[in-house]
Amino acid sequence: QRCLSLIKSTKFLNAYITVAEETALKQAEESEKRYRRGQPLGVLDGIPIAVKDNFNTAGIETTCASNMLKGYISPYNATVVQKLLDQGAVLLGKTNLDEFAMGSGSTDGVFGPVRNPWSYSRQYKEKYVPKSHSEDKDSNWVITGGSSGGSAAAVSSFTCFAALGSDTGGSTRNPAAHCGVVGLKPTYGLISRHGLIPLVNSMDVPGILTRCVDDAAIVLGSLAGHDPKDSTTIQDNFKPFELSNLTDVSKLSIGIPKEYHAPGLSSEILALWSKAADLFKNAGAKVIEVSLPHTRYSIVCYHVLCTAEVASNMARFDGLEYGHRSDMNKSTESMYAATRREGFNDVVRGRILSGNYFMLNQNYENYFIKAQKVRRLIANDFVKVFGSGVDILLTPTTLSDAVPYTEFIKEDNRTRSAQDDILTQAANMAGLPAINVPTALSERGLPVGLQFIGRSFQEKQLLTVAKWFEKQVKFPTIQLEEVKRHDHGVFQHQKSASFL
C-alpha cells in the first residue's frame, strides 16, 4: 500500500525490475485478515520485503537483469522466498542488479543502473559543489554499489522493511555500505541456496539487507537452517535468536587485520576504521592487530574460481529449455552461439571465456588447482586468527564512499570488481559470516560502513557486537526531501510521499 506508492514515487532510482503490485496487495489483505483473527503466521507476517531478481519466484518474472531470462517465469519459489511467504511476508517485487550478479556497481544490468537514494538526500545535496556551472544538476547521482544495489536502494529509500540480496564476493555488503544500510552475509551453508540463480556455487549465500542489526537477526532467524534441497546446508536445525543489548565488551577481543589497509583505501575511511577500533578499546575491549598473510592473493584467486564456476553455471543457458532463443536456425551449434551472444552482456561473456580458459586441460593445474590451494590458505589464515582468541575482525567494507555514475563507468567492470570486492571477498573464500554496519557520513555526505567478520556459524556473537557498535555510532537517517521535488518533477501525476 504505502510501500507500493513509495516504490512508484522513487521509480527513478530504478531499484525494482518488477513490482508485484497485485500479488503484494493480495498478500497484504490476507495478512490483515490473519491479524484481525489474531493469528499472524509469525514475526514477518504482513512485513513488506523485496527480493533480488536472481531468486526464483513462482509466478513473478525472474530475469537476473539479463536478456537471457527476460520474461522468464519460474515454476517454483526459492527456499528463502518460500520461507518468507510461509511466514506471511508481503513480496513487493524483484530488485535490480548487475546482470547475473556480475558486478559491483549495479550498473551493468539490462534494465539500466540503480541510483543511490543518498544522491537525493539533503545530506549529499548540501555538501555537493558543482565542478562547473555547465554541469547538469542531475548528472551527479552516485552508484549504489553491487551487485545487490536494487535491494540496498529499496531498503534505504524506505520502500520495504528488508530485502534479500546475494553475496558472492561482497554483493550484499558493498551496496549496503554505499546505501547506508545493514548488509549481512551469513556463513556459507546456513541459508539454503536452492532457487538462487548461482554465480559461484561454492561462495554464494543469500544476503540480508535491513535498516538495523535487529531486523537482520529477525530475517536471519526465519531463513536459516537445513534444506533437503540444498546438500550444502548444515544438517542441524537453526534456533532463531534475539539480540541482547551488550553492556560489557571487556571480554571481547577485536582483531584488526593489517592487510586490510589495502592500497587505495581512502584516508577518510582509514580514520573512521581507527576511530571504531578506539571505540572498542575505550569501552574495555581487547583490540589487537592481527595478520591474515594470504589476503593479498585472495582477489586474483577469487577471479579464477569465480569465472570458472561462471563458465560452468552459464552453460545451461543454451536457448533450448527456457530463456532467450535466437532465430538463428542454421544448426544447433550456430543457434547456441547466437543465443548466447544476444542473451549475455560483455561482462558475462568475458567471464565465461576466461573461466573456460582456466578450466582447459592444460591450464587447470596452473590456475584452478592453484587458486583452490590458495583459497585453503586464506581460510586457514582466518582459522588461525580465530584460534588465537580473536572473536571478531573489524575491517572497512569499501575503499571509499560511492562515486558518481559518470566516474564509475570510466573503468571497466573487471577493474571495478577487483577494487570493490577486495575487502569483502575473502570472507566468501573462507565461508565466514560478515556484516556491514553503516558507520558515518563521508565529507561528501555519503554513507560509509565498516565490516565485522565472525567465526563460522557464530552469527549470534557477530550480530550482538554489530548491534553494540550500531548503537555507539548513531548513523544518521537519510533525509530524502529531494524525492518530493523529484517526485513532482518526474512523476507529477502521482501523489507525493513524505519521509520523516
Partner: protein, 466 residues
C-alpha cells in the same frame, strides 16, 4: 536422471593371426541402477514412460536448482563395488564434465572422474574352450573404477520434419557399453586405440570387439595406420564405422561439483554414534546383506546336489533357472543328478528354441516335478515322460496324469501283455544274448515306449533261456 556406473575393464587376452597380435580391450559400461528415483532428483524412473513425464525442475536444469544425491543409488554402487572385489572409497567426489549437446540441458554432466566410489576390483569368470562344457577356463578382468554418473537425456530425431526432440526422462537403455580397442605385438608398446561407442547388448559387444580387433590387424598388416577415433557399431552390417566428429578432440573441462559435498561412507568402526542411521551409508551393513555371489552359489550347488561344475554354470547363467531347479528338487523324490538332465536338456532347450525366459516357461516347476515323480514311481517310462513334457509345453492346462491317460502312456506292467509282445518279437528274431538290448529297443518301439524295460529284459532273458 537415471544413474549410471562405469566399469573399466582393461582386459588382456591373446588372439593369433599370421603374426602374433595382442589386443587390449577396455570397456566402459553404463548400467542403469534399478532405483525408484533418479540419481540426483526425486523424479521417478520408469521404463517406457511418456516423454518428459518424469522430469523434475532439476532434471530440466532450471536455473537455481541443485542436485540431491539419492541414497539408494549410493547403496547400489557400494554393493556392486563389493561384489566386484573393489576397494570402496570412504570419501568420493563429484565432478562436472562439460559439453554442449541438446540432450544435456545443464551443459555439463555430474560424474565421478577423480575420486570415484569404488576402485581396483576384479571379476573372475569361466568360459569353455571349443564349446566343450568339460573344459572350463577361469579368467579374471581387472576393474579400474565404478562411478556414479548422471545420465544424459535422449534425443529423438524426426527426420521428416528435420526436428530433434529431447526426452529428459533420460536414456532408457539399461546397458550401454563403450569399448576401447587396440592391438600390438608382444613386447611392444600398446597400439593406437579406437573407441567403439554406444553398444547396447552383450551380443553386439562381442561382435563389435571381434570385428574391431580383426579390422585393426588387417589395417596394420596391410601397412596402414590406426587413427585414434570414435567409431560406431552398425549392428545390421556387423561392422564398426567412423563416427562424424567435426568438433575434433573434446576438452571436457572437468571441475569439482560445488553443490555436492564429498560423499562420505562409513563402516561399523567409523560410524559416529550420534549419526542418524537413515542418513548414512554403512559399508559393513551392505556387505552383510550382499547375496551370494555367483562363484559361491555355484560351489554350493555342486556340493549340495552333487551336480557337475559345468552344470552349475549353466544353471546360473540363465536368469531364474537355479530357482526353478531347486523348486523341482523340493517337490520330487528324483535325485538332483537326474533332475539336472531334465532341466538342462529338456526345459532349457525348449526355452531356447522358443526364445523364452525361465519365468515365461509354460511348464511350471510344479508340473515338471509331478512328471518326474511319475517317472520315478515307474508309472511311465522316460521315453513317455518326454512325450508328456512335449504335451505340457503346449500349455493347455492339462496335468501330467491327464496327458498320460489321454495318450495311453502308462508303463505296461501286465506280464501277460508283455509276454505276448515279446513272443511276437521273438518270432522275428532268434535268441542271442548280444542282441538283447536291441530287442528291448524293439519291444519299446512296439509299445511306444510304454513297457517297463526291466520287466522286458527279464522276460526276454527268460525267453532266451527257454
Amino acid at each position: 536422471m537415471s544413474s549410471i556406473f562405469k566399469l573399466y575393464f582393461p582386459s588382456l587376452f591373446f588372439f593369433f593371426s599370421l603374426a602374433p597380435w595382442v589386443p587390449v580391450v577396455g570397456l566402459e559400461i553404463h548400467a542403469q541402477i534399478s532405483s525408484n528415483s533418479k540419481l540426483f532428483s526425486g523424479s521417478q524412473v520408469q521404463f517406457a514412460a511418456p516423454p518428459n513425464s518424469l522430469v523434475s525442475f532439476f532434471d530440466a536444469s532450471l536455473p537455481g536448482t541443485l542436485p540431491v544425491l539419492n541414497r539408494r543409488c549410493v547403496e547400489a554402487a557400494v554393493m556392486t563395488g563389493l561384489a566386484l572385489n573393489c576397494s570402496i572409497n570412504k570419501k568420493s567426489l563429484f565432478d562436472r564434465k562439460h559439453y554442449f549437446y541438446a540432450d544435456l540441458p545443464a551443459g555439463y554432466q555430474i560424474t565421478q572422474q577423480r575420486v570415484p566410489i569404488a576402485v581396483n576390483g576384479s571379476l573372475s569368470y569361466s568360459l569353455c574352450i571349443d564349446n566343450k562344457m568339460s573344459q572350463m577356463v577361469t579368467k579374471t578382468v581387472r576393474i579400474k573404477q565404478i562411478q556414479l554418473e548422471q545420465d544424459s537425456g535422449k534425443s529423438l530425431h524426426d527426420d521428416t520434419r528435420s526436428q530433434t526432440l529431447v526426452d529428459l526422462n533420460r536414456a532408457e537403455g539399461q546397458l550401454r557399453v563403450d569399448a576401447n580397442v587396440s592391438v600390438h605385438h608382444p613386447g611392444e608398446p600398446y597400439g593406437v586405440r579406437t573407441e567403439v561407442k554406444n553398444i547396447n547388448s552383450i551380443r553386439f559387444l562381442a561382435k563389435a570387439v571381434d570385428y574391431e580387433i580383426q579390422r585393426q590387424i588387417e589395417e596394420l598388416e596391410s601397412g596402414r595406420t590406426i587413427l585414434n577415433e570414435t567409431r560406431a557399431f552398425d549392428s545390421k552390417l556387423g561392422c564398426t564405422v567412423p563416427m562424424r566428429d567435426k568438433e575434433g578432440k573434446q576438452d571436457y573441462r572437468f571441475m569439482p561439483e560445488p553443490n555436492l559435498p564429498p560423499l562420505i561412507l562409513y563402516d561399523a568402526k567409523s560410524l559416529p554414534a550420534n549419526m542418524n542411521h537413515q542418513q548414512v551409508v554403512n559399508i559393513d551393513w551392505i556387505h552383510e546383506r550382499l547375496p551370494d555371489l555367483p562363484s559361491v552359489k555355484r560351489a554350493k550347488l555342486v556340493e549340495r546336489y552333487g551336480i557337475l561344475p559345468e552344470h552349475s554354470f549353466t544353471l546360473l547363467n540363465e536368469d531364474g533357472l537355479t530357482e526353478f531347479f531347486e523348486d523341482v528338487i523340493k517337490q520330487t523324490q528324483m535325485k538332483p543328478k537326474k533332475v539336472i538332465g531334465w532341466i538342462l536338456k529338456d526345459l532349457l532347450s525348449y526355452l531356447k528354441q522358443h526364445s523364452l525366459k525361465v519365468k515365461e516357461s509354460p511348464v511350471s516347476s510344479f508340473l515338471l516335478a509331478d512328471l518326474l515323480n511319475r517317472l520315478e514311481e515307474k508309472e511311465i517310462s522316460s521315453t513317455a515322460a518326454k512325450q508328456v513334457f512335449a504335451e505340457l509345453w503346449k500349455g493347455e492346462g492339462k496335468t501330467p496324469l491327464e496327458i498320460v491317460k489321454e495318450k495311453k502312456l502308462q508303463l505296461i506292467q501286465d506280464q501277460k501283455d508283455l509276454e505276448q509282445i515279446c513272443q511276437a518279437v521273438m518270432a522275428i528274431k532268434a535268441g542271442n544274448r548280444k542282441v538283447l538290448n536291441k530287442l528291448i529297443g524293439l519291444v519299446q518301439r512296439e509299445t511306444q515306449g510304454r513297457s517297463n524295460p526291466v520287466l522286458v529284459k527279464q522276460l526276454l532273458e527268460k525267453k532266451l533261456s527257454e
